[in-house]
């Protein structure tokens, strides 16, 4: 049987900024108010499509015996991006958005 990923018809919104991934060398944060659409596989949430500000920090620094080399790199992502996995952990940071709220958001953005 072939598995098909499906995009849900509901839209979620991040109630607060949160860290999506953190390790010694990298961190990825999702900004407050970011929107997310769940991705389903066999009726289970397996990931999200995010729309909103994300901040990626990577310490591209190498420690050598002769001193450190490199610099930290920071990048702001404001284009839609996809995440698969850890859906259950991420879901707690989102709440459902009503269609009215979505319309207001769209209107505000178009006025900018």
């Amino acid at each position: 049987m072939q598995d098909n990923y499906e995009l849900c018809s509901i839209v979620l919104k991040a109630a607060e900024a949160f860290t999506l991934h953190h390790s010694d060398k990298a961190s990825f944060e999702i900004g407050n108010g970011a929107l997310a659409v769940p991705i389903k596989l066999r009726d289970e949430e397996v990931g999200y499509v995010f729309l909103g500000q994300g901040r990626l920090l990577v310490d591209a620094i190498v420690e050598t015996e002769e001193g450190a080399f490199g610099k930290p790199v920071q990048r702001v992502l404001d284009e839609p991006f996809l995440m698969l996995g850890d859906a259950e952990r991420v879901s707690q940071h989102f709440s459902r958005v009503s269609s009215d709220e979505l319309k207001r958001t769209a209107t505000n953005e178009s006025n900018l």
Binding site: H22, A26, D59, E66, G67, Q74, L84, G85
Partner: protein
């Protein structure tokens, strides 16, 4: 096939009146049949145990609902893997660059002259006075030299530096670190927050040490 071959052999031997060997053969044969049943039983038990272990393994691997089917990507591990690959690439690049451009000897680091000539528009011996003055100005402070000295043994968090340099207040230490970072003698990791001494920082520290030795030698004379 094996049984048939062995049976033929026994008959052959019997025909040549080697009864004892034939009898021994029968006994062995009989014994093997008994062993075979035991082995079958052992095999059956082993199979049951293996099936149980497989189930346990499946349960352990499928703690997350999504992972049970082995279909989904663990986002954290994926990013970690990606970052590790990037860092490995950076490390290899740096290593290659070091090999071709910097000579590290007992006196410290220095540019390999042949490589420096390859750079377009760069005149031999020309000093960037502004940048050099800034770096030397950053070095011209006792506390900042102490900070560099503390970082020579490896990267440290600000509280570790504070612990080591008790005569410097936290706010003063932060401003010294900012100055050192601005001129590139120190770099701060943005994720973990550790401060590391850079290659120019190490060279500057070695230069300061040479100056100190020179002055000490002068005083002795």
């Amino acid at each position: 096939m094996k049984f048939a071959a062995r049976a033929k052999l026994y008959i052959f031997r019997f025909q040549f009146d080697i009864c004892q060997i034939w009898t021994d053969g029968l006994e062995i044969k009989y014994g093997e049949n008994e062993m075979s049943d035991e082995l079958k039983e052992e095999m059956r038990k082993l199979k049951e145990e293996m099936a149980g272990l497989k189930d346990q393994l499946k349960d352990m691997a499928g703690e997350g609902r999504g992972r049970r089917r082995g279909m989904y990507i663990d986002f954290g591990n994926s990013v970690q893997g990606y970052v590790d690959d990037v860092m490995q690439g950076v490390a290899e690049g740096v290593h290659g660059e070091l090999e071709k451009s910097i000579f590290i000897g007992p006196g410290g680091c220095r540019m390999w002259r042949g490589h420096r000539h390859e750079r377009e528009g760069e005149e031999e011996g020309k000093i960037d006075f502004g940048q050099t003055a800034k770096a030397m100005s950053a070095l011209g402070q006792e506390h900042r030299l102490k900070v560099l000295d503390a970082l020579m043994s490896g990267g440290k968090y600000i509280n570790e530096l504070q612990e080591e340099l008790k005569d410097i207040t936290t706010s003063t230490l932060s401003s010294h670190l900012d100055v050192l970072e601005e001129v590139g003698l120190v770099v701060q990791e943005k994720v973990r927050g550790r401060y590391l001494i850079t290659m120019p920082g190490r060279t500057a520290y070695q230069m300061a040490r040479q100056v100190s030795r020179f002055l000490e030698a002068g005083e002795e004379e």
